[in-house]
């Protein structure tokens, strides 16, 4: 059984984008922005229904993700935030993140968002090279990224995160180093660096299948990652999760909820939730989602009860992504059994092959283990 935690993180999914990026397989749709007003109403309705059930939780974090949440007008954001504060307890120190794409916001809008209480901005920058941005099918240039960062600072955002992608087809180490330098030049509090995953069915995947683009080189991507680790450490960022770096005190609290495998509620089309030992997913198409709520129904598509053994494995998979690692004490508090008793064999074996450090109290990925995380995680699944 779960200990009922009194605080909760809420994820709000906004499944709309101006145009579809070439590598993207997220639950998002281009050309459906006209649905936004009805969609926001549905979101508020879902929040209200959730509040009836879990209203005694206090919100630790709110995260507007997508898609492109910055396509919402500030009024829409306000309505959702109001719905949340009516449904749950919303303490003053709540972390509110909004993902934004350069080219979809300006200084005015950013100021409005800031004044609504949004206190963390996550910008999809992806690359400092316009040619790479085009390859990825992004709608913006690097110049727009720089301008947006400037405007965000002026609007009072003191907690700014930038996303980048490395290991692009044809990308050299030098080009990646240039992107990193340019990123550091903007002095973000937080950086997410993702190795490109070519997802089946995406336009990028098709181009690679047809040999129009070279397949990404994993070994080179590993080199880029190691370079970034070194460079960002030197610049004073701590590498707190496999793909995430932050200055002291700026780790993303919302995402830490996921990696600690603590409960969260997801609202919006295709959003997932993890509460009371259950994981469920909403209907993914915004039309279906809206219609369900307009009929007064819960928009749930799939439902899974997570068995304790599965939860233990998932917890290890998530905890080990973090630099803080998997703590034996916390494991015992949560599951009532010793980590050593459940996974002793796996831990020892992974230590022996050099992917893990394990001193009997905390298990952590080694630098090599960070690059070979799947080889570690699979042993716990």
């Amino acid at each position: 059984m779960h200990t009922r935690l009194s605080s909760l993180s809420v994820y709000v999914h906004i499944p709309f984008c101006r145009a579809r990026c070439a590598y993207c397989d997220f639950n998002t749709y281009a050309g459906l922005e006209s649905l936004l007003p009805r969609y926001v109403a549905a979101l508020c309705r879902e929040v209200e229904l959730a509040g009836n059930r879990w209203g005694d939780f206090s919100l630790a974090t709110v995260y507007f993700g997508g898609g492109t949440p910055s396509l919402m007008t500030p009024e829409m954001v306000e309505r959702v935030l109001n719905a949340l504060s009516l449904a749950f307890c919303m303490p003053p120190d709540v972390e509110i993140t909004l993902e934004a794409n350069p080219g979809t916001v300006d200084g005015h809008k950013l100021r409005q968002l800031r004044s609504l209480g949004v206190n963390r901005l996550s910008l999809g920058a992806q690359s400092a090279h316009d040619a790479e941005l085009r390859l990825l099918g992004r709608i913006h240039t690097w110049g727009e990224v720089v301008a947006t960062v400037q405007e965000a600072r002026e609007a009072g955002f003191a907690n700014l995160s930038l996303d980048f992608i490395f290991g692009l087809p044809g990308q050299t180490l030098e080009r990646w180093q240039e992107t990193l330098e340019a990123a550091l030049g903007l002095a973000p509090e937080h950086l997410s660096l993702y190795a490109l995953t070519v997802e089946e069915g995406t336009p990028l995947w098709e181009q690679i299948e047809q040999h129009l683009l070279p397949a990404p080189d994993d070994d080179l991507a590993a080199g880029m990652y190691e370079y970034a680790e070194e460079r960002l450490a030197a610049a004073g960022y701590s590498h707190y999760e496999i793909s995430n770096w932050a200055r002291e005190g700026y780790a993303c609290r919302h995402n830490l909820t996921y990696w600690h495998n603590e409960p969260w509620l997801g609202v919006g089309a295709g959003a997932h939730s993890w509460l009371d030992g259950r994981r469920w997913a909403n209907l993914s198409h915004p039309e279906d989602y809206i219609r369900a709520l307009e009929r007064g129904e819960m928009p749930v598509a799939e439902h899974e009860r997570i068995e304790l053994a599965t939860e233990m494995g998932e917890t290890m998979m998530l905890w080990l992504r973090l630099a803080e690692g998997a703590d034996a004490l916390r494991f015992r508090e949560r599951f009532g059994v010793e980590l050593e008793a459940v996974f002793g064999g796996e831990l020892a074996e992974l230590c022996e092959v050099g992917l893990l450090e394990w001193d009997g109290r905390v298990a952590r990925l080694t630098p090599r283990g960070r690059l070979l995380g799947n080889q570690v995680f699979l042993r716990f699944i």
Partner: protein
């Protein structure tokens, strides 16, 4: 039915010349299968046959036919496979028949297994009805091919039937010819029962189901039967015919082809080639039976999971009932532990056996590199027979190694003689002679070591002749050769199941090509893995599989947890098809790498 109104015949041909399609038309025309249940090559009922578009098993079916003169006949048809690896199926079917339809593709003409199967049929004393098929094709050379066939058989060209099995042209004439030109069943309805077991399969409820051709007497359910060579008494659970599903009739008269569900649970008592008679009035002499099969190719089959060993033995025994060309005996390997050394008629046969074991019996198997059987003469004069390179004794004790040589016939259009010669020369072939089939097509005769034949010779020949070449081979003799054992070391450890025997002159080239190929198929692991080829302890080639550098999901957020877990579960399941050797995992492909050296 009186024997004079029964005909037992089979359809034989080179692969793909249209036997099964012709069988479809006969089944249709006789109303054996109603139109709405008809599918293409309906007798190819195994999933594997349908997927590969090739007949693997001979299948029997009983048809009722009313001739134009109003007489009614019982026709027992056996469709046979054409692929060279399944010739044992053909020869067993022949023994249950008095006649054969020899089908030849009107475009391809006479090919290697046309002749090979014809000779088998003539040896079995069968009456032959020649049929040219696929006359609907625009490239058909119907007259030419008919003439060639007539010459081959020494008959009038008018006696060669011309059909399109696909379009249904000329098929009536085939049935008429079966009735008019093929003899009724030999045998004596009044004599004590003698029924030849020509095939079988295992059924969990009915035990061993024997496929029989009744030669003398009648087989009646309820009468205890005796298997003459195993001396086993059988109380049949069911007696019937194939229509083509199993249909109980309770009785099989002389000349009939059908089945007997024996209820036998162990498989040894009921071997193909045995004769069934009655316990009450047993026959004095069994029927001639079959020549035991001589496997050409040997390989080890091992369960990926050690605990499946017994299940594998059980599966092999049951499969052997339905595949009389399969032989096996227990074997152990340092690397793979316990499994079976299996003998096959060729690589295609091997592939089919492995697939059937995996599908029909739910096993997960590793097959080692195929090898031929060598004779090893020791210094002390003793001669060992070795079908696994790992069994080769210390070279110091060996006086001579002999390998099997084959007489090889390559059928090809004359335009490609040069290319064929080239392929054969690279494989130590010795040219013997050329025969012209007509002014376009030739038969090239060679002698060649079997070891060179089994390693994709057929595919190579096909690829240099744009698909036209066909191949047949028969054993000639064992001959001494300068043969050495090549060890393959993975991560510095020799893996016995990867060892092979090669000719000294080819050792360097083969060793280099092999380690290169293995490097491609062995997945990168957590550390780098050297792969070496060695002869007598000396390394002759080396490659390195570099260590895996990156394997991690970059993103894992809330919405992804289930998906990521499932991805990892899949990745983990994928590992199951690999075999762990110490710290290294080796996939099935690495064992078969030796077969693909010439691919690129």
């Amino acid at each position: 039915m009186h024997p004079s109104h029964i005909r037992d015949f089979c359809i034989i041909a080179h692969v793909d010349h249209g036997k099964s399609t012709l069988a479809d038309r006969l089944l249709e025309l006789t109303g054996t299968i109603p139109p709405h249940q008809m599918t293409a090559q309906v007798l190819d009922s195994m999933d594997l046959e349908r997927e590969k578009g090739v007949t693997i098993k001979a299948s029997a079916v009983r048809m009722e036919y009313t001739a134009p003169d109003g007489e009614r006949y019982e026709l027992n048809l056996i469709d046979t496979p054409g692929h060279v690896d399944f010739s044992y199926e053909v020869s067993r079917a022949l023994a249950a028949c008095e006649g054969a339809l020899l089908v030849v593709d009107a475009v391809q003409g006479i090919e290697a297994q046309t002749l090979a199967n014809l000779y088998l049929a003539l040896e079995a004393d069968l009456e032959i009805v020649p049929v040219v098929n696929k006359i609907d094709l625009t490239a058909a050379r119907t007259d030419e091919v008919a003439l060639e066939l007539a010459e081959l058989l020494g008959v009038d060209p008018d006696e060669v039937l011309r059909v399109s099995a696909k379009e249904g042209w000329g098929v009536e004439r085939v049935l008429e010819a079966v009735v008019r030109r093929l003899p009724p069943p030999r045998g004596d309805p009044a004599a004590p029962l003698r029924a030849l077991v020509f095939d079988s399969h295992y059924n969990p409820y009915k035990g061993v189901v024997a496929y029989v051709r009744v030669v003398d007497g009648a087989l009646v359910q309820g009468e205890p039967l005796l298997l003459m060579s195993s001396n086993t008494v059988v109380e049949p659970l069911e007696v019937g015919v194939f229509t083509p599903g199993m249909t109980p009739t309770g009785r099989l008269e002389a000349g009939a082809v059908g089945y007997v569900a024996t209820g036998l649970k162990t498989v040894r008592e009921c071997q193909v080639g045995d004769t069934l008679t009655t316990v009450a009035t047993p026959a004095t002499e069994p029927l001639p039976g079959y020549r035991p099969v001589k496997p050409m190719v040997f390989a080890g089959l091992y369960p990926v999971e050690g605990e499946d060993y017994n299940a594998l033995r059980d599966a092999l025994e049951k499969l052997q009932l339905n595949d009389a060309a399969l032989v096996f005996e227990p074997e152990s390997s340092q690397a793979l532990q316990f499994g079976f050394r299996c003998g096959f008629l060729g690589l295609f046969h091997m592939e089919i056996v492995q697939e059937r074991l995996e599908r029909e019996y739910g096993l997960d198997l590793i097959a080692t590199a195929p090898s031929v059987a060598y004779q090893v003469v020791l210094q002390n004069g003793e001669v060992l027979r070795i079908s696994s390179p790992a069994d080769l004794p210390d070279p110091a004790t060996i006086k001579e190694i002999r390998e099997p040589w084959m007489r090889v016939q390559v059928f090809t259009p004359a335009d490609y003689i040069g290319q064929v010669m080239e392929v054969v020369k690279r494989r130590r072939g010795i040219y013997k002679s050329t025969e012209y089939l007509d002014n376009q097509r030739v038969v090239l005769n060679y002698e060649m070591p079997l070891a060179e034949v089994i390693v994709d010779l057929h595919d190579r020949l096909k690829s240099v002749t744009r698909g036209y070449a066909s191949l047949d081979y028969t054993f000639d003799s064992y001959r001494p050769g300068d043969l050495v054992r090549m060890d393959i070391l993975v991560n510095k450890e020799p893996v016995d199941a990867l060892a092979l025997i090669v000719h000294r002159d080819q050792a360097y080239e083969k060793g280099a090509a092999l380690v290169r190929k293995m490097k491609e198929v062995i997945p990168r692991q957590l550390f780098k893995v050297p792969i070496q080829a060695a002869i007598g302890g000396r390394i002759i080639a080396r490659e390195t599989v570099s260590a895996l550098r990156k394997d991690v999901l970059a993103k894992c957020y809330g919405g992804d947890v289930t998906r990521k877990r499932k991805l990892l579960e899949k990745q983990k399941a994928g590992k199951k098809r690999l075999k762990q050797f110490g710290r290294v995992v080796i996939p099935q492909d690495a064992f078969l790498a030796v077969l693909r050296l010439e691919e690129d």
